[in-house]
Symmetry: C2
Subunit: 601 residues, 2 copies
């Protein structure tokens, strides 16, 4: 959620919600951080969790019982949630150790009715609740309307931003080509129709973008893709102007949102084989299709994998976007090194400066997420979002962590740098260098085709484990092209399987270390998967990574004694690349600063 979000926390809401639940005979209600399209950044009207609990993180869920309520967040949000929620109202739970089901198991009684909004959950997400209710002889009940909406007086309207066309050169592959590509797969899988409900899949498939949610040009609508490559798009017709209409062409039929139910029923009448995405399609749609008699084929969102495998032309655009982004970041870091030591820079002013520099870039369409600008102890809050209250000045002897990115017509960026203000302590240098060793290990690892990012995660942690420390978040997430800054199916993390790494995938490489109350360290580049020549005598097709992000890594924080020769060589090579590609675009003084910042170790 953006810092300027209109969503206010309403402390009185939970009492009203409980009154409603009690009146309706429900024991509890699930309040996930999600919208009817499973977006990560929500349209304001879907910020129900923030409105109810005050928690503004990008992931989490609340369970409200009549006499008790809990908020479940992952390691990224432990500290933030503690600051934002009222501990007397919500008990905070680490979702990795206590799932909502674990928590409910000892509280829900036989016969209890647990309510949920079927638009906000996928069938996959509901499975664990269904198992629990079966186990406890309780009942999981889908509601016709979300009670929070009824109680939310100034709830913002549904998103209705104008749809914009994104075609060549920024979207090299035409929508027709994409639809035909997907249709082939549907035929092969004997699927007649696929439900497309993810806002990024819709945007990618139809080569359109919108402003329905902050930071990501998702198109929040629904579509039915047929095996004949035609599409039925369910969206407010007012959002589509003549240019978009003719871009979509005759193979894309427009329907109103209110016609979705009837169309789904129609698929039932004809016993159509419908692919639903277990991890994306709202349970409401699946239940409607099931009741209507359609043959449900659970699977993956058919757009997800092709969308993740960027074409060479797309990657060229992504590289151009990263060069522009690097220029802004270098100007910022050069400015910071002069301004910060005299105490005149705060987290807010630093973020404003960086955001302003980005906004000057060609093809800039906005930030890809709220800039994380954390100095000293605030840097240890993994997804820290600075506010007027939390703002603090950057002080010498402290670390400053800035995680930021932008949306450009030709690419999405996401980069984290941690810099020392003044002279860092030996411990800071030791920790930073170990995080850097992890970053390097991932970045230069080569692996056989078929490897999943998950298999590589440990390489980012080994140097930290050596001294008994770790970080509680994944090492990498997929990134879209002028789309989601978090996109599947690939990833690098301890848990989950993720997809096999394939040429053209873009993924983040961001190990970190966080010392609560003291400082935070994270080094993040976006990298892309490339094919590499198999060594002489090699038997497997080998792949590797190529860095996309172009920005210096603070040499003042590197303890070169902790790096081996090849690690030092990696830093020097990367810095040379940063210097070569960015210098021509910089003014003389910034160019000089960059030369020093990227000098060999």
């Amino acid at each position: 959620m953006p810092i300027d979000s209109p969503i206010a926390y309403d402390p009185t809401l939970i009492a009203k919600l409980r009154g409603h639940l009690q009146a309706e005979g429900f024991a509890g209600f699930l309040v996930p951080h999600s919208d009817a399209n499973q977006s990560e950044y929500l349209p304001p009207c879907a910020e129900r969790l923030a409105h109810l609990s005050g928690f503004t993180g990008s992931a989490g869920a609340a369970v409200v019982l009549l006499d008790e309520a809990a908020l479940f967040v992952d390691g990224r949000y432990t500290l933030q949630a503690r600051d934002e929620i009222d501990a007397k109202t919500f008990s905070q739970q680490a979702i990795t150790t206590t799932s909502p089901q674990d928590w409910l198991r000892t509280r829900l009684k036989a016969g209890d009715k647990l309510a949920y909004d079927p638009w906000l959950h996928t069938p996959g997400q509901l499975e664990a609740y269904e198992r629990l209710c079966q186990e406890l002889d309780a009942e999981l009940v889908a509601l016709g309307a979300n009670p929070i909406d009824a109680l939310w007086l100034d709830q913002p309207p549904l998103p209705s931003s104008q749809i914009k066309v994104l075609d060549a050169p920024f979207a090299p592959l035409s929508s027709k080509a994409k639809r035909e590509l997907l249709a082939k797969d549907l035929v092969k899988a004997r699927v007649d129709v696929a439900v497309i409900s993810a806002g990024d899949s819709l945007a990618w498939l139809l080569n359109i973008r919108a402003n329905d949610v902050p930071f990501t040009p998702l198109v929040l609508a629904y579509a039915l893709l047929s095996a004949d490559a035609t599409v039925k798009l369910f969206i407010d017709a007012a959002r589509i102007d003549q240019a978009t209409r003719s871009h979509l062409g005759p193979d894309v039929q427009i329907f109103g949102r209110d016609q979705l139910a009837a169309q789904l029923d129609g698929l039932g009448d004809t016993k159509t084989a419908v692919r639903i995405a277990t991890s994306a399609t709202p349970a409401w749609i699946v239940e409607r299709l099931t009741r209507a008699g359609a043959r449900i084929l659970p699977g993956a969102d058919p757009c997800q994998l092709p969308k993740a495998k960027k074409t060479p032309t797309e990657i060229d655009g992504v590289k151009r976007a990263h060069a522009r982004d690097g220029v802004a970041l270098v100007k910022f870091l050069a400015w910071l090194q002069i301004q910060a030591p005299n105490g005149s820079v705060t987290e807010l002013s630093a973020a404003a400066k960086l955001d302003g520099l980005r906004a000057e870039n060609e093809h800039f369409c906005g930030l890809s997420f709220p800039t994380i600008s954390g100095s000293g102890p605030n840097g240890a809050i993994v997804h820290y979002r600075v506010t007027k209250d939390s703002d603090r000045a950057l002080a010498t002897g402290e670390l400053f962590l800035v995680d930021s990115g932008a949306q450009y017509l030709d690419g999405t960026t996401d980069v984290t740098r941690t810099v020392a203000i003044g002279t860092p302590s030996d411990e800071m240098k030791d920790r930073f260098t170990r995080v850097l060793k992890g970053h390097i290990a991932i970045s230069r690892q080569r692996f056989p085709r078929g490897t999943r990012g998950q298999e590589l995660d440990v390489l980012a942690r080994q140097a930290l484990w050596e001294v008994g420390i770790d970080y509680d978040h994944g090492t990498g997430h997929g990134v879209g092209t002028y789309l989601g800054v978090h996109e599947g199916p690939q990833g690098i993390s301890k848990r989950g399987q993720g997809a096999e790494l394939a040429t053209g995938m873009v993924i983040s490489n961001e190990p970190g270390y966080y010392k609560e109350g003291a400082y935070g360290i994270r080094i993040e580049n976006l990298i892309t998967v490339v094919q590499v020549p198999s060594p002489q005598g090699g038997e497997r097709e080998m792949m590797g990574f190529e860095p996309l992000t172009l920005a210096p890594i603070d040499r003042n924080l590197i303890d070169t004694a902790l790096l081996n020769e090849s690690e030092r060589a990696w830093v020097d090579t990367y810095h040379a690349q940063v210097c070569d590609e960015l210098s021509p675009r910089l003014d003389p003084s910034t160019r000089n600063w960059l030369a020093q910042a990227t000098a060999t170790l």
Copy 2:
């Protein structure tokens, strides 16, 4: 399956089976390599896959259609299956790239009936088939009797070996203590009764062993464990003598196998909450319970995790077993080095020699699996089983791979060594040393509590990936105590999640490299998970491994230039431990040989 197995391949069976299927109106039949207790090594009567196809591997499945049949095996069995099956009758499929469902998807038609034996599949295994049949509008049908049994003239009888008691000192924890431990968890999970059907779980829970299957003292029976810590055991009463009866005590009631159905129905009548193990309980039992009206709670076999976490006293026994086993292996390797070069040793005679030496050991109860004795190209067959036809003499300039283990009252062993006969080539030394680097990387890795073996797998492969090679099997599997040589829930592999590594778990560490038609390399130790002190300034509880296996690693195959200092130190330290612990138990000449074999690099 043992080499001396009575099971003969019947090439005429498939035609008879098809006749039967056609007559009954079925389009196909599933023939998994499994028995009614999901054992890995099957009782002879359950070797239906071998009887039908000739394939004798320990994992695989056949699908028989009226006009086509396929055998699905993993990378370990690619070469073996090719040798064993008739390619005209069965098309061989790599299960990792083509699952039975993938294969069936393009062959099964709407309305087709696909038959299976509900005793041989778990609900978890059937899910993918159910989804496929729903997708194709086909029908998955459970058969009342397995048609192969009707057509198998000399099918061996059900296992009925005498039950033996295994109590302290070999089973330090009493059965009563184990039952009470598990009962607590059942109460916490609100489970009334848990179905125990895995032969190793039964043996562990009741501190009994049997000879129902080769190589593993499994007890093939069924039990219902109640939340009050009492057990109903379904087994042929003739198998239980007075000593066992009094060992089991009053809390264990004995029923005939034929009384299982009635007892399950009883659980239904009382709407009992029954925990079934998705990965172990036969579908037949689950379907019976469901029809009867029981509340099914899918989960893990409650014995699995506690069984895997060996107590310190158990680990002491396991170490004693490994010392005895090491003596046999060292005597064998010393003998081999003298005999092999003169060409007088064959794969069969080598295996016989090693098996004989093991048999001399105290508490020896048999091999834990058929000794894999592969010279030259046969070493490249991952699960090679030497036969009179395949037997070949060990020749100089070749590698010899021996993977073997034994069952002792106090522990189960599993060790692989690869030795050079005469002088190895530079390539052999390079490959061997890279496999060794992987073995060392796993063995000395330290990791925070909560890490799963899967997260470490890549460390065993990095040195191979460097030169573009890999191996197509997991890096490690759990091992039981005088029980299964393969036991869950922990593991080290690219795929799957596995369980978090916990103190007392025993796991194999066995990276390898296989050059088809040339040679095979594998270095396997069993290792156990131990807690290690967190370094100064460390924040996480750290764990590591301790080697259990005691046997020299062939120094002639190590290219010391490829090892860094700490890797060389690991080898020297390990070899010193092997020498110190085994020398006192050896005759002078073997002791001298071991001293040289374990000299510092």
